[in-house]
Amino acid sequence: MTMTQDTIKHHLTDALLMAYSAGTLPEAFSLAVAAHISMCDECRARLGAFDTVGGMLMESCDEAVMATGSLDATLAMIDLSDARPAERKAPSPAGVLPAPLRAYVGGDLDAVRWRPVGMGVKQAILPTKGDATARLLYIPAGAAVPDHGHRGTELTLVLQGAFEDKVDHFGPGDIEVAGEELEHTPIADIGEDCICLAATDAPLRFNSWLPRIAQPFLRI
């Protein structure tokens, strides 16, 4: 995941990083944030700065009274766990999907269960709870995702290939944070099929009749 480090131009917002650090994001957004950070040391460092603020606030809390025997109980817990020491995780093998996404897919790209949604575009909805949804999108080289607007926030992380919309060009590791104001038609680059992770906290609104009919089936 390191080869894209220096080419990433589109990063997470401070608000998303702070909410992720505080632990208040819906699961689907946390997944997009964790996946981007896996590919982007700049945002990993920014998250470290926000975690520092969290640590500082925690340390400045007035001390609560611990239960009697709390330390001994914790040491007993440690003795139990030390009987079966935790293995250090092996670094994950190279692939297209960063580790947090692989945990949802059950493997790398070849494990994704794609469903066609028309015009060569495929998607796979990932199992997340809460009021936001996440899915992988497969857009054939040169194809467009229908013109759509959003009622909420949509995060789109490029995993492979690239796309372009009226905002800019987005390559591997780039994340687009789109708010309600954006109506866009992302188009995949000609060179390679584009694979993205899209997370949204509201259903997308399509502007043409065909996707509008398809929308209930797409569950997006």
Binding site: A19, P26, A34, S38, T52, G55, I78, P100, A103
Partner: protein
């Protein structure tokens, strides 16, 4: 500026010590945070229970208070705090004092436990970065990170009360992500650069 002796005292040269001596945790007036980092390194290298007890006495009451302010009742906060502190022992090999202070690192463990226990949702984590082949972190880097943390702490303390209040609300779970302002007003640039430097070194060492 801190003398090298202070750093040496705080971060013992762990690989050379074959005898497990109890860590004497003294409040270092200039950099109390360094002592806590040293405790976690003692746990990591020598399974040092004295260092753990010192860490527990300082952090457990604060972790518990943090969990209670985030909405846990006293019984749940006590249980979660014990689990968090046990995790500090179990995960000590993942602590990198050039990227996080002890308070920061323990906060991330407490936060994850909070999401699990209170919100009952999954929180995907970024891909783990292993420690590089260097077993012993660079003492200058540890000190530099500590100094940046302290500078940030002073800057946050100096923020207008209203702004500080909003930041506290965000971290104690009283604001949704939609309610967090795009401009946080936090001066995070220098500590971010310091962490980025540590990450670059780690990446370089992994090659």
């Amino acid at each position: 500026m801190v003398s090298p002796a202070v750093i040496r005292r705080a971060i013992p040269r762990l690989r050379q010590s074959t005898v497990v001596e109890p860590v004497k945790v003294k409040e270092d007036e200039e950099h109390p945070g360094l002592e806590w980092s040293a405790c976690i390194l003692r746990i990591r290298e020598a399974r040092d229970r004295t260092a753990f007890a010192a860490l527990f006495r300082h952090f457990a009451p604060r972790v518990k208070a943090f969990l209670m302010r985030s909405g846990a009742d006293a019984a749940m906060a006590e249980e979660c705090t014990q689990e968090v502190m046990a995790a500090v022992w179990q995960k000590a090999h993942l602590f990198d004092p050039t990227r996080a202070s002890a308070a920061t690192w323990i906060f991330t463990i407490a936060r994850n436990r909070k999401i699990d226990a209170l919100r009952k949702v999954r929180r995907p984590e970024p891909e783990d970065l292993p420690w590089g082949p260097e077993e012993e972190p660079d003492q200058e880097d540890i000190l530099a990170l500590q100094q940046e943390s302290e500078r940030l702490e002073e800057a946050v303390a100096a923020l207008p009360a209203k702004q500080r209040d909003l930041i506290e609300k965000a971290y104690f779970g009283d604001l949704s992500h939609r309610e967090i302002a795009e401009e946080t007003g936090l001066p995070l640039g220098t500590i971010k650069s310091r962490i980025r430097l540590a990450l670059d070194r780690l990446r370089h060492a992994m090659k």
